[in-house]
Amino acid sequence: MNNRIFCLILVLALTLSVSAQNRYFTKTGHIDFFSHTSVEDVKAANDQVTSFLDTSTGELVFSVLNRSFQFPKPLMQEHFNENYMESEKFPKSGFTGKIADLKAVDFTKAGKYPVKVTGKLTIHGVTKDVEADSELTVGTDKIDGTSVFSVKPEDYDIKIPSVVKANFAESMKITVQMNYQLYIPKK
């Protein structure tokens, strides 16, 4: 019996230590969005994005606190949370997906790898399948990930009243910049 328990602990410890080495994470990831019209530019940036990347499975998860988006205009920030994102009801946006062509990336070799990321994007309580061209830059114990894609507010049930429709482009350009570090689990 003792033997079995020992065995269990050994296996668990092994798998955990193995898994620890293929997980990368960041808590200071950057996401910004931008919309340009002749009336005004709408832009905001968030530098507190939490994300995990599992290099063995290609899994990728993101969590974004909507209130952490910083706007140049404070009133715009208030309207973003209050009228559009309804941050009280939906405090977070998120993404769960994976690197579709994981085989194209050699995580043991430093360099730039273009990849395709697919998964489910959740904004304003609405989840949609998305696909984005991205790039991974592998370094020693760190990986940088960047991606640019666009999102239409109406796809996520974000209503823009006709009075201010001219202020927003039909789709928002989203830029993602992640600076992953090797994840060391807390004891």
């Binding site: 668990l12 798998t15 808590k27 910004d32 995990f52 606190l65 140049p72």
Partner: protein
């Protein structure tokens, strides 16, 4: 048997590993207290202040208008022939400190105020429950002296208000309490108090993201029986907020003519029950003059 167990364990371990990524994300996401914003859409509930703060670099140009009393009848077009305006420019010096100056038709007042945001309501773990601001105002009455023969001092034109604003947002409903102290340097007679204590209560109920109904009431403590010639009432106002981008329109019904604390708290002489109701509106337009968070 042992080998079998080992394989089973390995499988469960990898399965655990796979589902873990979202759990890890949840455990690493920072969930500190978040500020609760937009308890009110505009810096005024109706006549009185709300806890809505102008942030640094924001300029708010406000035009407030009150018509005459609706019970003045068809000759006065139910009050719409008369008008009473208050104009003001208000600015956020700091995120927590805003100042403003204004001019009102009522008693030809010129006024100024400063408001400091002491604390903010938060949501999440370890959250602070209410938003608190402190308001200090000064008003000068600009009317010509009724008695030109006596020595009149400028200081006699002044009145001051100190007010604490305590508010909390419960989802669609925001509630605010306003303990208030008004000091008038000169009052018409010994029957009038120089110092007034009042307790205000205000609320906003959001109908949609951009429409809300509002109300405000001040209970003014008047321990001395009032003169019968000019009886003062407690101000009660009801409003409807419409927000469109940088504008906030407020359509109001009130028994006060004054649109500043000294006026509406101290000198509201209309009674809702007698139909002394003024239709009015406030328009607020916010301009961002200086945006600090440049990227």
């Amino acid at each position: 048997m042992k080998a079998y167990l080992l394989i089973a364990l390995l499988f469960t371990a990898t399965a655990l590993n796979a589902q873990n990524l979202n759990d890890l994300l949840a455990s690493e996401s920072t969930d500190g207290p978040q500020p609760v914003e937009a308890l009110f859409k505009a810096t005024r509930v109706i006549n009185g202040h709300s806890v809505k703060q102008l942030k640094k670099g924001e300029l708010d140009i406000r035009i407030s208008h009150r018509f005459g009393r609706v019970n003045s009848g068809p000759y006065e077009f139910f009050g719409l022939d008369q008008s009473n305006i208050h104009l003001s420019a208000e600015y956020g010096l700091l995120d927590k400190l805003m100042v403003g100056v204004g001019r009102g038709t009522y008693e030809k007042t010129v006024d100024a105020f400063a408001r400091y945001n002491i604390a903010n309501q938060q949501s999440g773990n370890g959250a602070f429950p209410v938003t608190i601001s402190y308001l200090s105002t000064i008003e000068t009455i600009g009317l010509k002296w009724s008695d030109q023969t006596r020595t009149n001092y400028f200081s006699s034109r002044l009145s001051f208000t100190q007010q604490l604003l305590i508010a909390r947002k419960f989802s669609n409903l925001s509630v605010q309490l306003m303990p208030t102290y008004v000091h008038r340097n000169l009052v018409p007679s010994v029957m009038d108090q120089n110092d007034l204590l009042a307790m205000g209560v205000a609320g906003r109920f959001k109908l949609t993201n951009r429409l809300a109904v509002t109300g405000e009431y001040y209970y003014v403590l008047r321990p001395i029986p009032q003169r019968t010639s000019t009886k003062f009432y407690n101000p009660l106002s009801l409003g409807f907020d419409i927000e469109t981008g940088g504008h906030v329109f407020q359509i109001v019904l009130t028994n006060s003519q004054g649109m500043r604390e000294g006026g509406f708290i101290g000198k509201t002489n209309g009674s809702w029950l007698n139909g002394d109701i003024h239709i009015g509106f406030n328009i607020s337009r916010v301009f961002t003059l200086h945006s600090k968070r440049k990227k």
